[in-house]
């Protein structure tokens, strides 16, 4: 029987059904987790989906992180449970301090929706384990506040300790490490598109893997991310501390 993966539904979430659809294609049994539910119903992993929780009013994710379910998510993460935040879910995780850094308004000050290329910086995490070496992923971004920021010391630590999960890249796979690189859609520092916490069990990314799960819609690269999570959850993968980053990207 397939592994149960929770999908948190905040008021204003709008990618929960897409995520559910993607998880089914990835072989999991999705379980909706209402924002008011005090527990996670014994799921093996949790996804915080995209959308505009509480309208993204004030700051994206600022209000949502106080939802009752987030206490359960934090406890789950504390015990090493696998948590993935996608787009708005990433913003909520950052506001909750479950992943390092913050997501600022896009430098261009406009919402940006386009397909991007990602280079994975880690292939040994529960979120990337099925991505073959040397592979880039194509999937869409769609956000207004996706500019990754962390203070200089935090950023160095992040790079040093392998906290960078994905970087934006040009179509031919060159990481877009500077904020003004045309392949960097929002001005993120170091071209960071996704990060993983020090324990290696909580990750957030701005691009939408759940929107890239069928060739008919342009790409199924996102399945690699979802399958990795499902696979790791099934294996009950013990989330060990991240190994030192090997693959390129950091200048």
């Amino acid at each position: 029987m397939s592994v149960r993966v929770g999908v948190v539904v905040f008021p204003g979430s709008n990618c929960e059904q897409d995520t559910t659809w993607g998880l089914r294609l990835a072989g999991a049994e999705p379980v909706d987790l209402w924002h008011e539910s005090p527990d996670l119903g014994g799921v093996a992993a949790v996804i915080l989906p995209g959308g505009f929780a509480y309208g993204d009013y004030l700051r994206a994710g600022a209000i949502a992180r106080f939802s009752p379910v987030m206490r359960a998510v934090a406890a789950f993460a504390e015990e090493g449970g696998l948590v993935l935040g996608i787009c708005n879910g990433f913003q909520v995780l950052a506001e909750a301090g479950l992943v390092p850094g913050a997501l600022l308004r896009n430098r261009g000050l406009r919402f940006v929706c386009r397909e991007v290329t990602l280079v994975p910086e880690r292939l040994d995490t529960p979120f990337t384990r099925l991505i073959g070496a040397g592979r880039t992923l194509r999937m869409p971004v769609a956000h207004g506040e996706g500019c990754y920021y962390a203070g200089a010391p935090e950023l160095d630590a992040l790079e040093r300790e392998g906290g960078v999960l994905f970087r934006y890249a040009t179509a031919d796979g060159r990481p877009a490490c500077t904020p003004d690189d045309p392949a960097n859609p929002n001005g993120s520092l170091h071209g960071i598109a996704g990060v993983v916490n020090a324990a290696g069990n909580v990750a957030g990314l701005m691009p939408h893997p759940e929107r890239a799960v069928e060739a008919l819609l342009g790409s199924d690269d996102g399945l690699l991310v979802l399958r990795s999570l499902v696979d790791a959850a099934a294996a009950g993968a013990a989330a060990g501390g991240p190994a030192v980053v090997t693959t390129g990207g950091s200048r």
Partner: protein, 778 residues
């Protein structure tokens, strides 16, 4: 809002004869509250008092029509027990005043029309028209409107998958913001906006009521925009997409669980419109408990509460036993809800201050502050037979069937007047492709979420949008179109051409057009020329739809689109939804292979009037637009669908704005491969390359499929010629035929023999044209 010395009814935008009609219907003089209710319901926007007789002439029926005009949105069957709901609406005046909020609330309003039917909104298309893109105010408007469409649509989680952005001087003082929304529902779940069953409860849920857009429906939409009278200045409505998202989920749950007898969105004219339209549709009345309506602000006058246009509100008509379930759903979604009235048998809308008792009878000491027959406000609102007079300048062509060449621009007319500018056809092509109207719209649609809900097979940017329907093999194909340039020369032809192009855009993907929605943007109907343009457009719309065999299932009329001293070009915006049984069989417009045969289906007629080339190079004012033969259009579209279904055609694109040269360039740019072509020239090379005569398409043939395509074309009596092959890094177009011989001057048009441009040059012009025009590059 009552200006000294001006009688209240006039201050509210009601003419003296309208007041007289109201007194006849009531058998007495209305009090101020009743007058306010009439003023909003008898506005052009809500009553269609000028356009209703015209709209009655449109074809609205068809085998798969589940709901047509008169409901919040048209609904048509699409198989597998499913149906599609779609509708287009304008938010022109609010967007001119406050572009971001005007466009945002426009999206919110049309979405409510869709989910009020019980359909989950799956897509938005935005048709936008502005003046000079280099003008600072235009840039401010474009920025705000695009921001507002995205800001709202992105947040509620409905993808924006198509639309238009057109710049034309006639919109300088009066931009157009038309928004179309599409939803999917189970056929057996279609909800009506009616209030049946005396004794049933009227529940208002969603946002609380404030002083938003007071008088908007009458004042905002019926006063010529730009009027300085402060009493006609709108109160800006602010949209809350977060509240709308909750409203969508709550409403769909209420309808899906069968908890409501009727559901209506509150838009123009607010609660007044909501109660009188639902009661009128059911032949009932409603007793409104004014005190029960949740307020956002203290001290609101009764009339303010009744006509407020506060956004993100709905009413549901329910049997009393459903109330606990409704309250539970609203509470879960964090939406306030209140029982604000009872359905009655007397057919009146009665407003009571002081509360109702548990059985819905006015409490002791309460008082009735208004009582009006529901139909007097709604279906029996006043109707005006407006005067229609064609402008002296030119008459109307008849784009009827048969020869179709009713008024054909003569080659001489075109040739004689073409300026030396644009001598080099390659340069003309680059200017067209890189111009504000034909260049890539990426700058706009990258600000829209195009993918949420994961159905977008083809998003904005390359012809019609394609949305797969989860759980089936089917797909919906949607587009909006309007030829305002030809409409301003000939509103009948312009409307017919707009329908032809919109449906062609659907057929050229391989899908079958299902139905038409529309938004008629015109000027002051009390001006005989403006009303003539409107009636001609409706005639053209009806004729085209009858010829193509598709119903008009809904739409919207926006009049008084005039800034002081300038009327917009007549703009009959057309929205079409099509259906494909197998999404895998649909084709796109990008060349798919090298060395593939390319064919031109359909025959070109003369005439450059209203073309993009004419706007660029200028033509004689008397040069007519190309004529439309609806029989040929029908034949071409049937041929396209069967050719694609047979698998002969991996790529196809219809010939429209910019003509043949621009289509070939687009197919090449998108396909990442050029091509070499020889185009037959009957008369003027300018007409051959850049003419926009309709009912034509370019097809890429599968290897070996050319003979099959020729015989299929013959079966449909569609002329077809092979014009060249794909491949290479350049676009080469040579002109063949007697029109191509002799000196350029004799040929007229000042067009030399060939287009020969590098693909990269074309791509660069096409990609940078819009941001450059808007000064947004960098």
């Amino acid at each position: 809002m009552n200006v000294p010395d001006v009688p209240l009814h006039r201050a509210l935008g009601l003419a003296d004869e309208e007041l007289a009609a109201i007194e006849v219907k009531l058998g007495r003089a209305p009090n101020d509250v009743e007058l306010a209710m009439f003023s909003v319901m008898w506005s052009e926007h809500c009553s269609y008092k000028s356009s209703r007789p015209l709209l009655a002439t449109l074809p609205t029926t068809g085998p798969d029509v589940v709901a047509g005009p008169g409901e919040n949105a048209g609904v048509q069957r699409i198989g597998d027990g499913l149906a599609v709901a779609f509708k287009m609406e304008s938010h022109n005046h609010p967007s001119a005043v406050e572009p971001y909020q005007g466009a945002a609330t426009g999206v919110g309003g049309i979405l409510r029309d869709i989910f009020a039917m019980g359909a989950r909104p799956i897509a938005v298309l935005d048709a936008l028209r502005f003046g000079d893109p280099s003008d600072a105010r235009t840039r401010h408007l474009v920025d705000g409107v695009v921001g507002g469409v995205g800001g709202y649509g992105n947040c509620v989680g409905v993808p924006t998958v198509g639309g238009e952005l057109v710049f034309d001087p006639s919109y300088q003082g009066n931009p157009l913001v038309n928004v179309m929304a599409i939803g999917i529902l189970r056929e057996d779940r279609v909800m009506r906006a009616a209030a049946p069953g005396p004794g049933n409860l009227v529940v208002l849920y969603g946002s609380a009521t404030g002083r938003d857009g007071i008088g908007g429906a009458s004042v905002l939409a019926s006063a010529t925009f730009g009027d300085q009278d402060p009493s006609k200045r709108p109160a800006v409505q602010v949209g809350d997409p977060f509240a709308e998202k909750l409203l969508i989920e709550a409403t769909l749950e209420i309808i899906d669980r069968g908890l409501a007898e009727g559901v209506q969105d509150l838009g123009a004219a607010g609660i007044t419109c909501g109660v009188c339209e639902t009661a009128d549709r059911a032949g009932t009345g409603i007793l409104v408990d004014l005190d029960a309506i949740p307020r956002r602000e203290p001290g609101m006058a009764p009339f303010e509460v009744l006509i407020s246009e506060s956004q993100e509100r709905m009413v549901a008509i329910i049997t009393p036993d459903r109330l606990p379930a409704i309250e539970e759903v609203c509470a879960r979604w964090g939406l306030p809800c209140a029982v604000i009235g009872r359905v009655t048998a007397d057919g009146d809308i009665a407003i009571v201050e002081g509360g109702l008792d548990p059985d819905g009878r006015p409490r002791a000491g309460s008082r009735e502050i208004a009582r009006v027959p529901a139909r007097a406000l709604a279906s029996e609102a006043i109707i005006f037979e407006r005067l229609a007079t064609p402008p002296a300048r030119r008459g109307s062509t008849t784009a009827g069937s048969g020869t179709g060449v009713a008024v054909a621009g003569t080659v001489a007319a075109a040739a004689g007047s073409l300026p030396g500018r644009g001598m080099d056809p390659g340069a003309v092509l680059l200017a067209l492709l890189g111009g504000p109207n034909l260049s890539s719209r990426r700058w706009v649609f990258e600000q829209y979420d195009q993918h949420v809900q994961t159905n977008t097979v083809a998003g904005p940017g390359r012809g019609a949008a394609v949305l797969r329907i989860k759980g089936t093999r089917r797909a919906l194909v949607a587009t909006t179109d309007c030829d305002q340039a030809v409409s301003s020369l000939d509103p009948y032809l312009g409307a017919a051409l707009s329908v032809a192009e919109a449906t062609r855009n659907v057929s050229v993907t391989g899908a079958r057009p299902l139905g038409v929605t529309n938004c008629l943007n015109f000027g002051d109907p009390t001006r005989p020329e403006a009303f003539w343009a409107l009636s001609e457009a409706v005639r053209g719309l009806g004729d085209a739809c009858r010829a193509l065999g598709i119903p008009v299932t809904g739409g919207n009329v926006s009049l008084y689109n005039e800034a002081p001293g300038s009327a917009i070009a007549p703009t009959p915006e057309i929205g079409v939804v099509g259906l494909a049984d197998d999404v895998e069989q649909l084709v796109g417009p990008a060349f798919t292979a090298d060395d593939a045969a390319v064919l031109l289906a359909g025959a070109a007629g003369p005439g450059l009037g209203g073309s993009a080339y004419a706007a660029l190079a200028g033509v004689d004012a008397d040069d007519d637009p190309p004529s439309l033969d609806l029989d040929r259009e029908v034949a071409l579209q049937a041929f396209l669908r069967s050719a694609i279904a047979a698998g002969h055609v991996p790529a196809a694109q219809d010939v429209s704005r910019g003509g043949l040269a621009v289509v070939l360039a687009e197919m090449a740019i998108w396909g990442g491969r050029g091509g070499s072509f020889r185009v037959p020239v009957a008369g003027s090379p300018a007409v051959a390359l850049f003419g926009e005569s309709p009912s034509r398409a370019i097809l890429e043939a599968r290897p070996g499929a050319v003979p099959a395509l020729r015989s299929l074309a013959a079966e449909h009596a569609v002329p077809i010629v092979a014009i060249g092959r794909t491949g290479g890094e350049r676009l080469l177009v040579e002109l063949a035929g007697e029109g191509a011989t002799g000196a350029a001057e004799e040929r007229g048009a000042g067009v030399a023999d060939a287009v020969d441009v590098a693909l990269d040059e074309l791509r660069h012009a096409w990609e940078h044209g819009l941001p450059r025009a808007l000064g947004a590059e960098g």
